[in-house]
């Protein structure tokens, strides 16, 4: 009995142990399959991720290739320029007047080499007159020295080289003496060294140039213009070159003021003529002052330039009797001062785009000459700026004094002049 019970108990225990073992075995097998399954899944995911990475790599390579095809080279080209037009009313009537379209082509050959040219397409009567304002190449020799050669705006004073473009000029017209037929040099062909530098902490800019120079009208064919120096005529009428310079000094460290001194001197008479040795000296002083006036929430802009022209004495044929000669003290002078105020810091968007400007200019040419002028001009205007380079100008011009035979053409681009008071509405866009 005791053995029988013992056997039963032992068997039962054995069964329970086996069941427990079986359970463990089943769990073990299931875990194995589970791990196997997970491993397979991870492997599948790895394969999928690798495929995606490859795909992304290919896409990046493709995009990189595409991007490289758009990557700019060292040589770059830029088209800029300006255009303007408007209307004028005076005693002669009221007319829309053709302006001009001046494309400016800039070509950067490399980090040191630059070519630029400005064309001028101007309406003259029913035709279009095409001109080249400048076309020159610049080589940036060092940090502060640039060499320029070709046709250039003569670096003399501030109006012609810096302020004449219609989208920069505060008025539709130029000051007296500064137009295409004025006494200021305009453009010329030659070479120039220019740049900006520092004398200690004093900022300066400089330009030294040699150009063909102006040409003296000897009065043989146009007696009414005897003694005038014409600028921008090619080729040169003599072998002497005109040399000149402009130096600008910035007395304040914030560059708000620039004082400029310009001079140019050279032969102007035609070779093998009676006036071959006649020379001309041009000199100018200019000032520019631009200051933000916080108290007035405005930007103040002052510009002024005084120019003198001395031509050595010469004999010219009388208008009525060319065999008779006459002479005069061939000295001219002109100056202008311009002030503008723009409340650019006020909150009102209309008011801050307004600009109020006034300019006075004066021209005096030799008394003994047929082209004697003793004239003054006052321009007052209100401009509205649509953006930093698009403007509509409303201005009124008052002229007084004696206007001689020498026709002045103050506008740079087509506004017909009659020498009298005029009202202008003009738009200009820079691009």
């Amino acid at each position: 009995m005791a053995f029988g019970q013992l056997y039963k108990i032992t068997k039962e225990i054995s069964n329970q142990v086996n069941i427990h073992k079986m359970k463990n075995l089943i769990i073990l097998i299931l875990s194995f399959f589970l791990i196997l399954l997970m491993n397979q899944n991870v492997k599948a995911q790895d394969i999928q991720s690798t495929d995606e990475i490859q795909k992304l790599k290919q896409e990046i390579e493709l995009l990189s290739k595409q991007n490289n095809s758009y990557k700019p080279g060292k040589s770059q080209f830029l088209l800029r320029g300006y255009a303007h037009s408007g209307l004028q009313t005076n005693n002669n009537g009221f007319s829309f007047v053709g302006g001009s379209f001046n494309p400016l082509l800039i070509y950067k050959q490399s980090d040191r080499l630059l070519f630029e040219t400005e064309l001028e397409m101007e309406l003259v009567g029913s035709a279009v007159e095409l001109g080249i304002e400048y076309a020159n190449i610049s080589y940036l020799l060092s940090k502060n020295i640039t060499i320029r050669a070709g046709k250039m705006l003569v670096p003399f004073g501030i109006f012609v080289p810096n302020l004449h473009p219609a989208w920069i000029n505060k008025f539709p017209t130029a000051p007296l003496g500064a137009g295409h037929e004025g006494i200021l040099p305009t453009n010329d062909i030659g070479v120039e060294i220019r740049g900006g530098s520092y004398l200690g902490n004093l900022k300066v800019n400089y330009s030294f140039f040699a150009v063909n120079g102006g040409q003296l009208n000897d009065g043989m064919e146009e007696p009414e213009e005897a003694g005038i120096i014409h600028h921008g005529i090619f080729p040169d009428n003599n072998n002497g070159k005109t040399i000149g310079s402009r130096i600008g000094i910035f007395p304040f460290s914030n560059s708000s003021m620039e004082l400029g001194f310009s001079a140019m001197y050279g032969k102007t008479g035609a070779r093998e003529s009676d006036v071959e040795d006649i020379k001309a000296l041009h000199y100018a002083f200019d000032i520019s002052y631009v200051k933000t006036l916080s108290s007035m929430s405005s930007v103040l802009d002052l510009k002024a330039q005084y120019t003198g022209v001395n031509v050595s004495d010469a004999n010219y044929p009388e208008h009525d009797d060319p065999d008779e000669l006459y002479t005069f003290d061939n000295k001219s002078k002109t100056w202008f001062a311009q002030l503008s105020l723009r409340p650019a810091l006020v909150e009102n968007p209309i008011v801050r785009n307004l600009e109020f400007a006034i300019r006075y200019s004066d021209l005096l040419t030799p008394e003994g000459a047929e082209w004697h002028v003793n004239q003054s001009q006052t321009d007052v205007g209100i401009n509205y700026w649509f953006d930093w380079r698009t403007v509509v100008k409303f201005s009124y011009r008052i002229r007084s004094g004696f206007e001689g035979g020498h026709s002045e053409e103050p506008s740079h681009g087509g506004v017909e002049e009659d020498g009298g008071n005029s009202f202008f509405i003009h738009w200009a866009i820079g691009f």
Partner: protein, 89 residues
């Protein structure tokens, strides 16, 4: 004639001084100024300050090189102005 010689002499001396100075390194004043400041100070001397959004980076490279020659900017000034315009556009 004497007056002319004096003028020529003054300009020649200034020319020589400037050329010598041009070989030196950049002024402390330029070094201390940011591109935005140089942009504000230099452009407005002649015209309104241009919006950086006007041109792309590449176009600004050309435009600033043009203005470096036109406005007699130093290399340091031009680089700082270009960097500012390209960052802000």
């Amino acid at each position: 004639m004497k007056k002319l010689q004096i003028i020529a002499l003054i300009f020649s001396i200034l020319f020589a001084i400037i050329i010598v100075q041009s070989c030196k390194s950049t002024s402390n004043i330029t070094e201390s100024k940011f591109g935005a400041q140089l942009w504000g100070e230099n452009c407005i001397r002649c015209h309104n300050t241009p919006s950086p959004e006007t041109f792309s980076d590449t176009e600004w490279d050309v435009a600033v090189m043009h203005m470096r020659v036109r406005a007699n900017l130093t290399e340091s000034e031009a680089v700082k102005i270009a960097d500012f315009l390209k960052t802000a556009n």
